[in-house]
C-alpha cells in the first residue's frame, strides 16, 4: 500500500487537505478498511470448514441432548384427541372426566394399538407414575375387540380400575404439554404432583446422593493429586534441567499410556489374589485370610483415578514453579527466615496460580469420568456418568439421561469459566 507523503496532499487544490489517499486516489481510510475486511474474510474462510464440521458433528448432538431433556411430544402425538378433551377438564374437581374423554381415548388407542405406539407411551408415563405401563398394555390388548359403542366409562373401569381414578387422568393431563420439566425434576429427586413440585419419598431418592458422591470423590481425587503432585513438581523445578528431563519421563510415560492399560494394571494389582495383596501376605503385614479388599469399591476408584489424573496436576504446577526465581527464597533466608517460613510465606504464594490451574483441570476431568469407575468402582465407587450410561443403554430412559447430562455439563462449563479466568483458554499446553 503506497501512501503519499502527508506534506504532498495539500498540493491539489480541489482535494480536502485532511484526507490521506493512496496512489490511485482512494482515501487511505477506505483502503485500509477494505484491506482489513479482506483479511477478516480470509481468516473466516480458513476457519469455516472446521467450524461447520464441529457444529454438525459435535455441537448439534449437544443441542439435541438439551432438547431431549425437556422434550415430551409423546402424549400429544399418541393421544391427540384425548389431550384436546382433557384441556377443559379440571383435576381439582375431584371427579374423573366425562364420557367424551373416554370416547376420545378409545379412538386414539385404536390407532395407537395398530401402530404399536401405546406401549411406548406406557413406558414413558411409567417414569412419572408407576403402574402406567401395565395399564396401557392391558387396555391395548382389550381395545382391539371393542366396538365404538362399547367405549363407555364402565367398560374402561372394568378393564382396569385405574381408569376410574382421578390420578391416572391427572398424570395424562400433566404430561400432555410438549415441553416438560419432568426429567429435570426426576434428576433432582423431585416429582410433579397435583400439589405442585415436591421431593420424592426418602427411599426413592438416588440422584442427589449420586451427585453428592460424584462431587465428594472428585474432590478427594483432586486433593490426593495435589498432595502427591506438589512435592514432585517442586523437585522437578528445583533439579538441574538434565536430571529433571529424565525424571519427567516418569511423569509423561503414564500420561501417554492408554487409559485402559492403566485401568487394567490397577485391576491386576488391586485384586485379592493380585500383586499387592500377595506382597503384603509375603511380608506378613496381612494374614492370608485377611487380604485387603481394594477393588470394586471407593478405594479402588480413588487409587486408580489419582494415578490416571496425577500428570494433569504435575504438569501445570511444574510450568508455574519453573518460572519462580530462586532468588526470592534466598533473599528471605538471608533476611533471617527459617526454611519453613521462606517456603510458606515466599515460595508457596507464588505457586497458587499453578495449584488453581491443576486442581480445576483435575476436578473437571474427574467429575465426568466413566470408564475407570465402571471397571474398578463396584457399586459404591461409581459416578453420575455411570448412571447416564445406564439410562442410555439399559433402562432406555433417554430423557432422564439427557437431563442428568445437562446438569453435569452445566457444572463443567461453570468450572471451565473459572479455569479460563485463571489460566486462559489460549494457554492450554500439551505434553
Amino acid at each position: 500500500m503506497n501512501t503519499q507523503n502527508p506534506a504532498s496532499t495539500d498540493t491539489g487544490p480541489d482535494e480536502n487537505p485532511q484526507v490521506l489517499t493512496t496512489r490511485d486516489g482512494i482515501p487511505l481510510k477506505v483502503s485500509l478498511a477494505r484491506a482489513l475486511r479482506r483479511e477478516k474474510l480470509r481468516a473466516l474462510v480458513l476457519i469455516a470448514p472446521l467450524l461447520l464440521f464441529v457444529l454438525i458433528t459435535f455441537a448439534a448432538p449437544i443441542a439435541d441432548m438439551l432438547f431431549r431433556s425437556v422434550e415430551n411430544g409423546i402424549v400429544s402425538e399418541t393421544l391427540p384427541k384425548t389431550v384436546e378433551v382433557l384441556a377443559t377438564w379440571d383435576p381439582e374437581s375431584g371427579e374423573i372426566p366425562d364420557q367424551a374423554a373416554f370416547t376420545a381415548l378409545y379412538e386414539d388407542l385404536k390407532v395407537a394399538v395398530e401402530e404399536k405406539t401405546h406401549t411406548r407411551l406406557g413406558s414413558r408415563l411409567n417414569y412419572e407414575a408407576s403402574g402406567m405401563s401395565s395399564l396401557f398394555r392391558k387396555t391395548g390388548r382389550r381395545i382391539g375387540r371393542m366396538e365404538p359403542a362399547d367405549a363407555t366409562v364402565e367398560r374402561f373401569i372394568d378393564i382396569d380400575k385405574d381408569w376410574g381414578t382421578v390420578e391416572t387422568w391427572a398424570v395424562l393431563k400433566r404430561y400432555s404439554p410438549t415441553i416438560t420439566p419432568g426429567y429435570f425434576l426426576n434428576a433432582a429427586d423431585m416429582q410433579l404432583t397435583a400439589e405442585g413440585v415436591e421431593m420424592k419419598p426418602e427411599n426413592e431418592r438416588i440422584y442427589l446422593y449420586l451427585f453428592w458422591r460424584t462431587l465428594f470423590l472428585s474432590l478427594t481425587i483432586t486433593s490426593t493429586c495435589l498432595l502427591l503432585g506438589y512435592p514432585v513438581a517442586f523437585l522437578l523445578a528445583a533439579l538441574p534441567a538434565r536430571s529433571a528431563n529424565l525424571l519427567m519421563i516418569l511423569v509423561l510415560l503414564p500420561f501417554w499410556t492408554s487409559l485402559l492399560v492403566r485401568t487394567s494394571a490397577w485391576k491386576v494389582l488391586l485384586q485379592q489374589q493380585g500383586v499387592i495383596n500377595d506382597f503384603l501376605v509375603w511380608t506378613g503385614l496381612v494374614s492370608d485370610a485377611g487380604r485387603l479388599v481394594m477393588i470394586n469399591n471407593q478405594t479402588g476408584t480413588i487409587i486408580a483415578m489419582t494415578h490416571i489424573l496425577l500428570p494433569f496436576m504435575i504438569l501445570p504446577l511444574y510450568s508455574v514453579m519453573k518460572t519462580i526465581s530462586p532468588s526470592y527464597v534466598r533473599a528471605a533466608k538471608s533476611l533471617g527466615a527459617t526454611d519453613w517460613t521462606a517456603f510458606w510465606r515466599v515460595y508457596f504464594p507464588q505457586t497458587v496460580p499453578g495449584i488453581g490451574a491443576g486442581a480445576i483441570l483435575v476436578f473437571i476431568l474427574a467429575i465426568g469420568y466413566y470408564i475407570t469407575p465402571e471397571l474398578v468402582g463396584g457399586t459404591d465407587g461409581i459416578f453420575i456418568s455411570n448412571r447416564i450410561a445406564y439410562h442410555i443403554s439399559t433402562s432406555l430412559n433417554w430423557g432422564l439421561a439427557a437431563a442428568l447430562g445437562v446438569i453435569l455439563l452445566l457444572a463443567v462449563m461453570l468450572l471451565f469459566y473459572v479455569y479460563d479466568k485463571i489460566v486462559g483458554i489460549d494457554n492450554v499446553k500439551l505434553g
Binding site: 477478516k40 458433528t57 492399560v261 442410555i392 500439551l430
Partner: protein
C-alpha cells in the same frame, strides 16, 4: 533443594533425604503399575500375579502364549483391524481441518475469535460421557449410529482441539514477513503455503496429528455408544474383557500399547526439539 550445602544442619539433612524418599515413592507410584504388567504378560500360567517360577527366574515360568493368543484370536485381530481402519481416517480429517483453522485463527484480525475458539475447543472440555450421549441421540436420528462413518466423524471431532492447540502454538513463533516475502517474489498463496509456511509449522502439525491419532486410538466411551459390533476397536475389546471374563491376553495387549506410547513419546520429544531449533531457541 537441588544440592545440600556443606553447612546444612542435621535437621536440614534429615529433611532433605526424607523429601527425596517421598518423591521417589511418588515416582514409584506413577511408574510401577505400567512396569509391572510387562513381566506379568509373559506369565506361563493364567494368573495375574507372579508365580514361584517367575520369581525364581525359571524360564519355565515365562512364555509368549498370551501374545500368541492375541495374534491368533479372531476377536482381537478384528478389533485391531477396526482400530487401524478408524484412527488414521479420523486423524486425517482432524489434521486437515484443524491446520487450516489454526492458520485462520492466528491471523491478526479475526472477528469473534474467542467465541469461535470456545466452540472449536469444546470437544476437549465436554466430558466424554456427555459427548457420547449427545452423539448417540443425534446420530441415531440421522442414521449414522452404528456405522463406520459415524464413528470416524465423532473421533475426528474429538481430535481437532489437539491439532488446533499444537498448530497455534507453532504459529506463535512464525515470522509473517516470510509469507509477504514469498508473495512479493511472485508465489501464489497455495505455493506460499506449501513451500514456505508448511515446512516451518510441520512439527506442530505432526504432533497435533499424533495427539488426534492417540485420541481416536485410545477412545472407548464414544465408540461404545456409537459403534455396533462391526466397529469394535481394541479399547472396546479391552473394556469388555475387563468387565466380563478377564483374560491375561489383556496384559499382552496392554504391553504392546505401552510400547506404542513409548514410540509416540519419543517422536513427540524429537519434534519438540526440532521445532525449537527451527524457531531459534536452544532446546532444553
Amino acid at each position: 533443594m537441588s544440592a545440600l550445602p556443606a553447612y546444612a544442619s542435621t535437621g536440614q539433612r534429615v529433611w532433605h533425604y526424607s523429601f527425596r524418599t517421598i518423591c521417589g515413592l511418588i515416582f514409584f507410584f506413577l511408574i510401577f503399575p505400567i512396569l509391572v504388567i510387562l513381566p506379568l504378560s509373559f506369565n506361563a500360567e493364567n494368573f495375574f500375579t507372579f508365580t514361584k517360577e517367575m520369581l525364581a527366574f525359571d524360564p519355565a515360568g515365562y512364555s509368549f502364549k498370551h501374545y500368541e493368543d492375541f495374534f491368533t484370536n479372531p476377536d482381537w485381530q478384528q478389533a485391531m483391524r477396526n482400530s487401524f481402519a478408524i484412527a488414521p481416517v479420523a486423524t486425517l480429517l482432524a489434521t486437515s481441518f484443524g491446520t487450516l483453522a489454526a492458520i485462520g485463527l492466528s491471523q491478526q484480525h479475526v472477528p469473534y475469535r474467542s467465541a469461535i475458539m470456545a466452540i472449536l475447543i469444546s470437544p476437549m472440555i465436554v466430558p466424554l460421557i456427555i459427548s457420547a450421549a449427545g452423539m448417540y441421540f443425534f446420530y441415531s436420528r440421522i442414521g449414522l449410529q452404528g456405522t463406520y462413518i459415524g464413528v470416524v466423524l465423532a473421533h475426528a471431532a474429538l481430535g481437532t482441539p489437539f491439532v488446533i492447540i499444537t498448530v497455534t502454538a507453532t504459529l506463535v513463533g512464525f515470522d509473517r514477513s516470510l509469507v509477504r516475502a514469498a508473495a512479493s517474489l511472485g508465489a501464489n498463496p497455495v505455493t506460499t503455503f506449501f513451500k514456505v509456511q508448511m515446512p516451518l509449522i510441520i512439527p506442530g502439525v505432526v504432533s497435533g496429528a499424533l495427539f488426534a491419532f492417540i485420541t481416536s486410538f485410545d477412545e472407548v466411551v464414544v465408540v461404545l455408544f456409537l459403534g455396533s459390533a462391526g466397529q469394535k476397536t481394541l479399547p472396546w475389546q479391552m473394556f469388555t474383557g475387563l468387565r466380563e471374563q478377564i483374560s491375561p491376553t489383556i496384559l499382552a495387549v496392554a504391553s504392546l500399547m505401552v510400547a506404542i506410547s513409548v514410540v509416540l513419546l519419543t517422536v513427540l520429544e524429537l519434534l519438540r526439539r526440532r521445532s525449537e531449533r527451527l524457531r531459534g531457541l536452544t532446546p532444553s
